[in-house]
Every structure is written in structure tokens, then in C-alpha cells.
């Protein structure tokens, strides 16, 4: 089993890792000849399937495995990967390879980097800092040594080699065979979300409000209060509605003029005219598809906004919410886009 690759688009890789890490600490990574797939499935909360083409984050990719279809399955702590990628940001060169240390499999990241430019401005005229300028230097003064040294510190900056070893677990194909990507029926409403930072700020505000303003004290209500639910609705007329409804509060934010993207008939399992969204469009602007999400979980999901990609939300009325996050290829604009799919956990009313 062999895996070795150079890293590219480290910033994007790092942001993706951070977004996934906000949902779950450990990811399942599946590597094959064409794609690298990150999957996180928390015990409770939304799951993510991020399938990236290899050349989004890797180059000089080398993979050898005895498994069927040349795949490697790993379990990987996202926090450590994120930490290692942080070292690799702004590096000259970084690669990643599967290795073993003390019998434990490791993803070893080797980073060639420089430290930041050194500032030496404060060395100027250090004597003037204190009012001791009127004292002449004594050459036998043990403290005089410090000043003389500062002039010799202008050393050439050299490249440093940093190795970050991330412990991993190699998974047998049998263990991952049973993990299947969820299947959901065609959505009732699909809509492009407003900027996620904005959506997240308002959602978080609603969640915090719900956490602080509850008056009832029954046990059921308390658990409800600790995990406030937000109601998300969208229609086929470019509207998205976010609502918080408690026994003391009813607040709503509405976005309009959002885009309901056209469907690509070639991607559909049903003829376009039979697609559920047609009925919702015919139903008019008052025909909403609604799901309820957990405020805290939703906040973690929206953390994906840091990838700065276009996000399409697909609503299956009172049933499911799926987000498709399109990861832009910065080095190939207009080219293929990779998709990160969020199956947002939703709750019935």
C-alpha cells in the first residue's frame, strides 16, 4: 500500500478540513485513482460527503493498493490535519505520504518553508530607549556585550523542513462497504443560498435568542430550549425564510431575489415536467417547502461558508435538506467544480 502526493491549493484544503472538523473530529478518507473523498458522519447532526477530484488539492499523485479499484481507506483526525495544513500554508513546497512510525500508520506531511521576514528596526539606537545615554560604555561592563551582538545577528534565512505526522487508521474495505451515501428523492425546491456569512450571523443570533429567552421550565421544554430549532423555508420564487418560533418569540428573516437554478434534464431521474419543483412553482410564491433544523448543528454546517463556494439548498418539504457546496478551482476558473454535499439533519414539526 503506497500513497504519496504533493499538495496544492493548501488554503482550500485547509478550509475544507476546518469546515468538516466543526461537525466531527474524525473523517473517513477514501482515495482512489480519480478522486479523494472525505466523509464525516457524526452520531447526531449533519453528515458530509465531500468528493474532490484529485487534482484539486493534490499533484504528482501516486497511489498503489492491493484493494479492488486501487483504493485506500483511512480514518483520520481532522484537527491534526488542520493543524498540519496550517504549517503548510505559505510554504514553498509540501507533500503528504502514508508511512509507519513505531508500527503505527501515519500520514506524514513534509513542509519546506521559511520563517517570516525578520524585523530589525528596533535594533536602531538601542541606547536611546532609556535615559541612560549619558553613561559612557565600560568595556568591562558585562551588559555591554548584548549590544555588540545585535550587529552580528543578520544571518541568512534558510529553508526549514517541518515534518508533521498525523496518526491514521487504515480501514479494511469490508468495514466501509456498509457505509452508503444517503439517497433522497428529488427535491421540492432548490435555491441558491444568500452569502453564508450573513445567513450564519442571523441564524446564530436566532439560536442565541432562543437559548436565552425561554420562560417555561418543564423538562421537555428545557431540552427543547437547549437545542433550539430553526425553521427554514424556501419557494420557487427566489425566497428563503428563516424563522424562530418559541412560546415567547416569533421572528422571521426573509431573503428575496435569490436564484432557483435551472435543472439539467440529463442529471434527472424523472422527466423535467414531472419534477416535484414544477408543482411548487405552479403553487405560487406562497407554496413553501419547509424543514426544521437544529440551531447549533446548522451553525456548524454553515461553517462551510469559509470555502467561498456557491451553495445550492435542496428542500424536500418537511423531510430533508441537502446543501451542495461547489468548491471553486482557483487555478482553473470556469473548469470543473467539485461538490461537497451536506445532508443536514432535520426535524419534523
Amino acid at each position: 500500500m503506497r500513497f504519496k502526493t504533493d499538495l496544492k491549493n493548501i488554503r482550500t484544503f485547509s478550509k475544507l478540513t476546518a469546515a468538516l472538523n466543526s461537525l466531527e473530529k474524525i473523517a473517513w478518507v477514501r482515495l482512489d485513482d480519480d478522486s479523494v473523498r472525505f466523509t464525516v458522519i457524526p452520531d447526531t447532526g449533519s453528515q458530509v460527503w465531500a468528493s474532490l477530484s484529485v487534482d484539486l488539492i493534490f499533484e504528482n499523485y501516486n497511489l498503489q493498493s492491493n484493494e479492488l479499484n486501487n483504493t485506500i481507506n483511512l480514518e483520520l483526525p481532522l484537527g491534526l490535519l488542520q493543524r498540519a495544513l496550517k504549517s503548510a500554508l505559505n510554504s514553498n513546497h509540501a507533500n503528504l505520504r502514508l508511512t509507519k512510525r513505531d508500527g503505527v500508520p501515519m500520514l506524514s506531511m513534509t513542509i519546506h518553508t521559511h520563517t517570516k521576514e525578520q524585523t530589525t528596526a528596533h535594533h536602531e539606537n538601542p541606547r536611546a530607549r532609556f535615559n541612560g545615554g549619558h553613561h559612557e560604555d565600560d568595556y568591562d561592563d558585562p551588559f555591554a556585550q548584548a549590544d555588540m551582538q545585535t550587529d552580528l545577528t543578520m544571518k541568512r534565512e534558510r529553508e526549514k523542513v517541518i515534518t508533521q505526522d498525523i496518526p491514521v487508521r487504515v480501514l479494511h474495505p469490508d468495514t466501509v462497504e456498509t457505509i452508503m451515501q444517503p439517497k433522497v428523492r428529488e427535491p421540492d425546491v432548490h435555491i441558491q443560498l444568500p452569502p453564508l456569512l450573513q445567513l450564519k450571523a442571523i441564524s446564530d443570533r436566532f439560536t442565541k435568542l432562543a437559548l436565552t429567552t425561554s420562560s417555561t421550565s418543564s423538562t421537555a421544554a428545557r431540552s427543547e430550549r437547549n437545542n433550539p430549532k430553526l425553521e427554514l423555508s424556501a419557494n420557487m420564487f427566489g425566497n428563503l425564510r428563516l424563522r424562530l418560533f418559541t412560546d415567547t418569540l416569533d421572528i422571521t428573516s426573509v431573503w428575496d431575489n435569490l436564484e432557483n437554478p435551472e435543472l439539467d434534464p440529463s442529471q434527472l431521474t424523472v422527466p423535467v415536467e414531472e419534477h416535484p419543483s414544477v408543482a411548487f412553482r405552479e403553487g405560487g410564491a406562497d407554496k413553501w417547502a419547509t424543514v426544521r433544523v437544529d440551531g447549533k448543528d446548522w451553525s456548524k454546517v454553515l461553517s462551510v461558508g469559509r470555502l467561498e463556494g456557491r451553495v445550492i439548498a435542496c428542500f424536500v418539504d418537511d423531510h430533508a435538506l441537502i446543501l451542495y457546496v461547489y468548491v471553486p478551482h482557483h487555478d482553473d476558473p470556469g473548469g470543473a467544480e467539485d461538490v461537497v454535499t451536506y445532508y443536514v439533519s432535520s426535524y419534523s414539526v
Partner: protein, 457 residues
Amino acid sequence: MVVLNFTLSEDGVAVLHDALACMFKFSDDVCLEARKDKLTLTTLNISKSAYVCFSFAANRFFSKYNFEGSPQYRERFSCQLYIKSLLTIFRARGGASDVSRENAAIERCDVAIDDGVGKKSRLVARISFRNGITASHSLPYEVKAPTHAKFNQDEAGNCWAISSKTLRQLMDHFGPSIELLDINTDEENHVVNFTCFTEKVQKRGATNSEAVLKKPLHTNIAVEMDEFDDVSVEDKMHIIISVKDFRAILQHAQITSGDLATSYSNPGRPMKLTYGADGVLCEFILMTVGEKDATYQRHKTPKANSAKAPTSRPELDSASHRASSAQQVQPAPSVEKQPTQHKIPTASRPPPPAFDMRPPPPPPPTAPRSPGLFISQDGGDDDDHQWDPVNPDEEEEENARIEWHSNSESDPFAPRISSFARKPTQQSDATPPERLVSGLEPTQRLSDVRRFGLFSE
């Protein structure tokens, strides 16, 4: 009689504060030792594995310096103080705006130590601000001989020196929850390796369970020898020190200046780190751990090793010249710990209100970063906090933990003086509503006058 008095410029106060802040990461107390030619601050951590010594040259660091001595303390005078109290006195002042900073700028700081038979032992610091306000602080101290760690320079054949800024930046690559730093050389590749690891994970057994994934990051940084000054180290020797101590040192070294020089002998023997700034000499003596898997030592000297290696600490030279116990003065902390608070009428507590005031509405739980509903979107690439989950305090945010200031935040000092140091601050925070009842209109906001240095924070 006045044993010692000296005057500091504004920069001098800042440098002194930096030094104290660094020491505070090691210990709660500092020992001040005054001689004719220098003032020395020393401290030893509680496990006696790290010793810190800052020397300030009398003729270079201070605007004025005068050591009088006394019949009792002719050569030198030494005493022990709480670092936290000193940090409060010498802290940086100034508000956010340039004007307020200008107003609160320190013009000079006079410190005097008054001691003698029949006198109250006090360190008095008088800080004069540009705006004409003078704040006086009076601290009790304990007359006590300092403890110095011994370091045998002749024995320490290994040494290297490198820019402390470079070293400090390299430390950023080490992840959280690591404990030990292994420094070793590799002549073949002409590099010095800095390796971070945690001893806990050396335990075997749980290799096939998920525990493997909970191991911390193992980080190695190879730095070319050319980047060092004077590397002279035995090849393949591993010297291991505490990461926390090393970080605390570098944090201070990088703000000070230049090169950090080390010298050491063998694993299990102390290591010395030094750097200097203008008129200040900073020295640290750290105990090193026996070698990584200790095989090297075990084979060499099995007997000596068992006596020495992991348990041995820097040997301390407490052989100070004077039997100080006779003159020991108890710290008597409660009496005048916060003298300024008593002098300023606005800070004194008004009588309790006649009826229950409704407490001010509690602040919204946690909305530190987004005061407005909409946050601007121009936050830079690195400003990633906006994407944090809504309730980060519920997460075990291991990654968010940055350890540079862990000591000052965790506040190990609190148990000792919390009863009198904490309460006044809380009371002064709570005063505004109460004052309305007692009928005294405030003339200035507390936050406006605080920057003049009148109140402790």
C-alpha cells in the same frame, strides 16, 4: 531608612513589566536582589526545574539608581514579592485613542524600598503621568535571601545560538497538548532537529483501537546548521526540555531582541539559555529530561543514572550569606494590598442601598464578535472565527487552545489573594447603579479614569 531607590523611564517600566510577565509564567513570587551595580530579579518554579534570572544594569537600565545599603544590608539587599502585584503596578496604561494614550503616558516611575529596625517594610512605587497625576503604590514584602540555581559552565560543552524570532516562529508549528521538546543534531544532514512529542503516548497497547487517532501531532523541524551561530553539539545527542517553559522564554526573548544562546552538557543535567537586551541580561536554567528512551544513559552508567536522571533537578545554591529568618517579615497581605483604592473616594463603596435595586440586565451570553446583526464580509482570510460554531464553549476546542498565556489566564495566584484582590474590582464594577441611590452623581466614568492608573483592573 531608604535602602534602595531607582527611577525608570516609560520604556523602562515596559521592559520591567515584560520581564515580570515572563517570570509569572514560572512562579508567583519573585526575589528582588539589589546591589551597587545591578538589580536582579530571580525566581524558581514550584517543581524547581526552571530558574529565571533577569539582571538590570544600574548604570544603563535606570535613569537613576541608588543603593544605599544599611547596617544590616551592606553589600546587598534582597526581598520577595508577589509578581502579580508588581505586574499591576508596572502595567501598560493608555486607552484606545492616541489622545488618551498621550494623557496616560508615564513620565517617570520612582521606586523606593524602605526598611530598617522599627520600620514597616514597604516597596513604594510612585508613577507620575504626563497629565500630572501621580499614583503611589505601597507593597509589603518579605525579607528573604534569594535561591540561585547552580550551573557549571565548564561542564556544558554543547552550545548553539540562533535568532530568537526565528525560533519563536518555529514554535508555532508545534501543535497543542505537546509537552516535551527534543533538540538533537544530525551532522550527516547538517541540521539541528527540534522534535515535539508527548510522553503519555509512548504507552503501547491501544494501538488498534481508536485511541491511535487521539495521539497528538508529532512534529519535527529541521533547521540547517548554517542558520545558527556557533553550533557545537555532540552528534546525535538528544536533549529534552519542557515545551511550556521553552515557549515562555521565547515569548519574552522575541520581544527583547537578538540571539538566544544555549549551553548544556548531558541529558539529565541543566541547560542554560541566555539573551540580552540593552542593559538587561536574561538567564534561564532549565532541567533537562533523561534521554528519550534513556537507553544511551542506561548502558553507560546504570547506577549513576538511577540516582540522577529524571528526578534530579537543578541543584540550588541557597547558601546565601545571611541568616535571614531573624528578620523575616510576614507578607501581611491583607492590610494595604490596594492602597490607592482607599485614597480615592469614588472607589470606596457607598452604603448599601435602602431597597433592592433591580440588577442591571445581564449582558447577552456570548456575542463577542458580532455586535451588529450583519457582520462585514471583508474579514481577511485568516479571520476564521466568524465560521466558528454558534456555541463554541460547548466544544472541546482543543485546536483553539493557544498556550502562550496559559499561566496568566489560569491565574494560579488567585487562591492566595483572591479574597481581597478580587472583591474590590467586582464592587467597583457594580457601583454605578448603587451610587444613584446614595445620591452621588458620578462625574466621570470609571473607565475614563482607569487609564490614568488610579484603579487596578
